[in-house]
Point group: D5
Chain length 197, copies 10
């Protein structure tokens, strides 16, 4: 079920940043209360090799996003403690030192299961023990959500595990949506800021 | 629920092309039997103004997709008759004359409802008459699916109504996925064909 | 289940006319608020070949219907955008240029499914995906409803796809019903205005 | 729910004709076994005043229907005994003397309830006694069915109680349908035998 | 389930008499409001041969019943129109001309189904169509009810189709019950008015 | 629900006669195996005052019933022991000494509850104890059944407690039914053996 | 489920004594309102041979029970009328003439089914007729209940059909319970009034 | 629900005797396999003061029971270890030293709950924890069962906690039942061996 | 389901100590009302050989627990009467004479079933009798609970039947938890009072 | 529900060790196939401060466990990648470098949810979205399981988050259980290897 056109779920989730103290983020309120757009991107696991390149790429573009009044938030299902250890690992050692935007620590999967982006399948219920077993690591695909100032999702995409994202494409989508918001014009295929809509 | 990592639904759907005769396409078989990738893109309605730019953009890139062994398929919930009328309308009159790839005519919504990309909400059941009423036009968002040679979805994305798509980004994703298939290497952020993974 | 003798469903539906802007029509209110009879006729699809002859035939008789205080409304499950494109297609090209009565665009099938006139069958529910698939194009048969000033249906008929309608027969039925309303006499077989009841 | 496009219900029903002995008719078999079309018309009650004019009108046109290989059958929910009494009542006394086609005596409402054409409403179940009470006389509206040689309904219509039918319109529909069967051409609005389709 | 000892069902039913206008009778109120006993007898069908002899027999004894403050009511499932036609048919032609007590026209079977005296069996529900089919003509057996001034049934009996009733036996039962009401004595077997209880 | 036209229930019940030993009777088999008609009459209780007069009346007419090949059976819900005590009580003491036909001892109410002739009402289920309580003595009304040689009930009647039965009326009904069986003629009202049907 | 330690069911039941008029007894109120103990004994059937010896034995000991403030009540499922007939039958003829304590006439089994002492088994529900059939005569075992002044059961016992009871053992149990009530001492095995507890 | 007339439950239960090793007893098999009668008596708790007197009383009568081919078995819900401790406690210290018949250790209440003789009430289910809580000590009343050689219960009785049993009464019941078995005569009230039945 | 981190169940349970009178203990209130920690230990059965060594070991350490403001409570499913007998049995005879802390007598298993520490398995429900049978003695494993002053469980452990407990380990856990409560420091592995955390 | 006395769940779980490749461990098979005991200990999270001291303490004692034929396995809900990062972090930096036993990576919680040791509470189901939200981090308490060579759990314990474990106590429990296995003697309280049982 597409989430585009709907409000982002109203949930508070643990988060960590380079300061080292766990805090709470509610993505919906982040957009509505601060009157900002939000770019929320999920990656499967800390301490793997595709993921840090994505986190560094978003860090490098952070200034551009801020100019557009967009808050960037990363997310995985690891704990805040693991995020902090990774944030303290040098880039050369596969770490993400230097990342300054917050990272959700959705260890209880409250948010990722509501978005439906966990890689689990074949859920099975054991009648005798009442326990549920699944196949898969119970981590998220590379899902990305663009959310407007009213908390409405205007883009969602999901990449399979091995495929990194293109930061510029999200920039383009944000610009196009801002164009629609300002001009009331729809944006045709391959639209880019500065070109004719 | 993300469809990435799952097989595309096994369904035959009516389709139309510039030849004018209705025929059937089963997207899953299209990939598996012909050992091709498939790019399937949905647009809301025939005879509107954003949509033809997207259809033309895919047509222009058709050669590039074919080089990559990718079959392009368009789709909306209009009937095959309406598709044919639009195919026979000149580009200058807002038509899509010149488009040669097939377009699904999912007028019974069998496929779009299974993908969960219809813009309907507030489904209500009337106990007395047994009828169901919904809000929304019952047409699709701008959803795109990339499917590999085994029929597995490796990318899905959904844009809100007014946002056109970027054909090059899909090209990049297909190249990156082919790279993973051939090299067994994962593709980091902003990866592009010819750069180092 | 016959609908004759019951009120017409109380639903607002998108509509289009030659002016080009989508608007809403509630057939029940159209009758009750304007104290008019309504003739509502459904055809399967825009841009086909039987259908335009019916639309033109109703257009030609429009003056006669208006003399009898009858509002004529056409209807199919195509979108308003498609209706407009067809309204702008010349009669010689299979279009309906010149039609001035409104045409319902029941793309979400709210009204046609409540009337039970869609050509779908073998509805099947897929337990795993929660999706419903049907056989048929999910378009309407050639159904016609005559509704009196209180919103009560006094005639309904349904023709199979290939059979066009006879505009004069509906005129006869309207005259006969008006006769009953005025004279309180029932109308025998083959009754016609001016003959003895 | 429209019955057009579906097979007529497979049911045997009591019937009476001018010979005076009750016999059984299965409308579906009547069409299929004899390779005939069937025109089945329902009227509310024996011994009323609109009804005999309709019965006489069909009788007068019987030769025309037979030429077209159409079997005419009348029907109401009265018993066969009552039909016989009415058949023996002179036309001048409000009877139907002279009618030679069979008349169904659906006193148990097996067929009329399956067709959904009874004038009952507000069905209420009494929990204590297990009895069901309804409003209405539990007789049928003026419903007409045209059935082809395979038993498929190609036209249905229902008139409110006081509106008599037009025998010629049914003749026209039968001719149009035969034309489609023979020529494979669809019949546009107001089509009549001998004119161009 | 025996109905003796219970109140007669509280239902209004259409009725006809020799005056020709349909009116409503509620048997329970007929007893309670007029402080009368009621003899209600059901017969299967109008225009048959056993039935008129029973109707005439009750007519002949009508004076005796009135002397005992008993209202006689006949009943079948035919319509009021059919009752009227039969009331206007001479006795010699198998009619019931001369009958002056009212006859219930329970065409919707509200009352007869609550009494459980219809000759239907093998009720079958068709899951697909939601229709119910039965065996039998859906007419009543020869059932008779004696009801006292408080609306309580004190005798019920049912004869199979071909067996006519004995009017005198009902007279005897009414006399015996009146005796019990007045004297407080129970009435032994074969008791008759004027003999010792 | 009328039982006329149905087979009598297939059940074996305890019975007693003047010989003093309990035995079993299955009424249905009694008719079918012996090719006899059966008259089965129920009375409320042994050792009351109306009941013995009925039992004596049937005894006196026993020869007439036997001539007509009818087996007479009495029945109540008392035990076989109580029946025997009553059979041994002189007529002058309110007993039924001299009765020779068998009497059912339906103390477990298997048969009477299936016939629906017990005087109980307001059945209430106590959730806590699982017990059921009723109002009434749980004895039968004065119900009479006439059963033909195939086990089919052709007459049933029920009298309220204080009303004794008329043995001759049952004789008349048996004669009429035999007449129908032999002659195939239906028997009109007040028919009696020897008169014209 | 043992009933000892629970209150006796709160139910009014028909009863008979040598005076001949039916009256009601509520065993629970009998104990609580009169501040008495109650001995309630059930026997299977009137007019059998073990039963009267038990009834006479309780009669003979009645004075002893009254001295102990104990009310004796007999009970079976026969009607009050049968009880009265048996009370009027001389002891020599197997009767119970001379018995003065009341006897419950639980013909509707309200009380005995709540106590669970009926000899029925294999209850079977017939889906078609809704009737229940059982095996057994639906009479009670020889069950005995001792109830104290607050309505609490302090002893229950059940004997199989052929085993008569020992009146003295109940006397001993009542004395022992009274001893506990007065002295607060528990009563060891084989305790008897006058011996040391 | 009375258990008299039914087979004793088919269950194996832990038991202890003066030898000190836990073993299993199945009471039903004890009767059937050894062709013996069984007297099974339950007491509430080991190490209380009424109970040992009952255990000693049965021990003293053990020779008499054996002469009658009756196996005596005691029972409580204490463990086998506790039974052994009590068997090793001298009579003067409230113990049961000297008892030689086996004692069931129904600590899991399998048998006592099936017999329905535990003193628990107000069973309550806690939805949150899934736990059940009850009022009462979950020990048995003083219940006694007499079982014949076929495993059928012919007597059951239950005494409230403080009331000891009378060993002689059980002897009398066994003698009476043996009398019935041998002589086929029923045993009247107060019957004793050697007296006339 | 782990109980650590949850409140101890709020239940009152019978208990016994060397004084000999049964009283009630609610473990949760014991902690909360007295502002104490509680050590609750369960053993399988009184009068066995491992169990007394555990009870004596806790008794010997009682002073140390009291210094730490910890209340010690023992528990099994035996009755209070059996506990008292064991408390009065000399240590040399396998008794627990000298134990002064209270011992729960959870004979109704209200608490142990809620904790889930009974050794039962294969619970089976007998549809016919409504009885439940289990395997196992229905006694507890050697479970131990440490509860803080707010009633929250901070340690739970369960040993299989033959394994005795180590009193000092519970002392260490209590000291470590007190350290956390006072210092706010977590306690690493093998922490002991006086060592560095 | 205590797991002691039951088989350990039969599940394969991801694991990591100092070699860096993810592999599968099935704890039950580990015990049964290798005929070893298993000590499985769970800690809440990688990269925290209590946890590494426990992991180091088990590492130091590894030789002692191996001498006793015990396999040590650690476990948390972090991913294998995070385990590997932690295994590569020096002890001085809060890492667990030097640990050689495997560590389960139960990121999908299949095993921990079946053991019931996750710190989640207040599970809530959202009807609209079908999503489940919980309170708590969805990580495990400090739970420890001792499993014998047949896969049966003989000890389980759970410490609240801040309480570290005592490695020696588990050694003592293993020695005691081995003693029972060899000698068949139960081990009393405070038992230690080399002391008398």
């Amino acid at each position: 079920m597409a989430l585009v056109g709907k409000k982002f779920p109203n949930l508070s989730v643990n988060a960590m940043d380079e300061m080292g103290d766990t805090f709470k983020i509610n993505v919906l309120e982040e957009a509505q209360k601060n009157n900002k757009k939000v770019l929320l991107f999920w990656y499967p696991k800390d301490f793997t090799f595709v993921c840090p390149t994505e986190l560094h790429a978003f860090q490098e573009a952070l200034g551009e996003f801020e100019k557009r009044n967009v808050k960037v938030i990363g997310a995985s299902c690891d704990t805040a403690e693991v995020h902090f250890a990774w944030l303290n690992t040098a880039k050369d050692n596969g770490g993400i030192e230097g990342v300054t935007y917050p990272i959700l620590a959705d260890s209880n999967r409250n948010l990722s299961s509501q978005l439906g982006i966990l890689d689990i399948s074949n859920e099975q219920y054991d009648e005798e023990t009442g326990a549920v077993t699944v196949e898969g690591d119970n981590v998220t695909y590379r899902a990305t959500y663009l959310i407007d100032e009213e908390g409405t999702i205007f883009h969602e995409s999901v990449n399979h595990m091995p495929l990194g994202r293109n930061v510029k494409e999200f920039m383009r989508l944000i610009d196009a949506y801002s164009h629609v918001q300002e001009k009331g014009e729809v944006c045709p295929a391959n639209w880019e800021e500065g070109k004719e809509a």
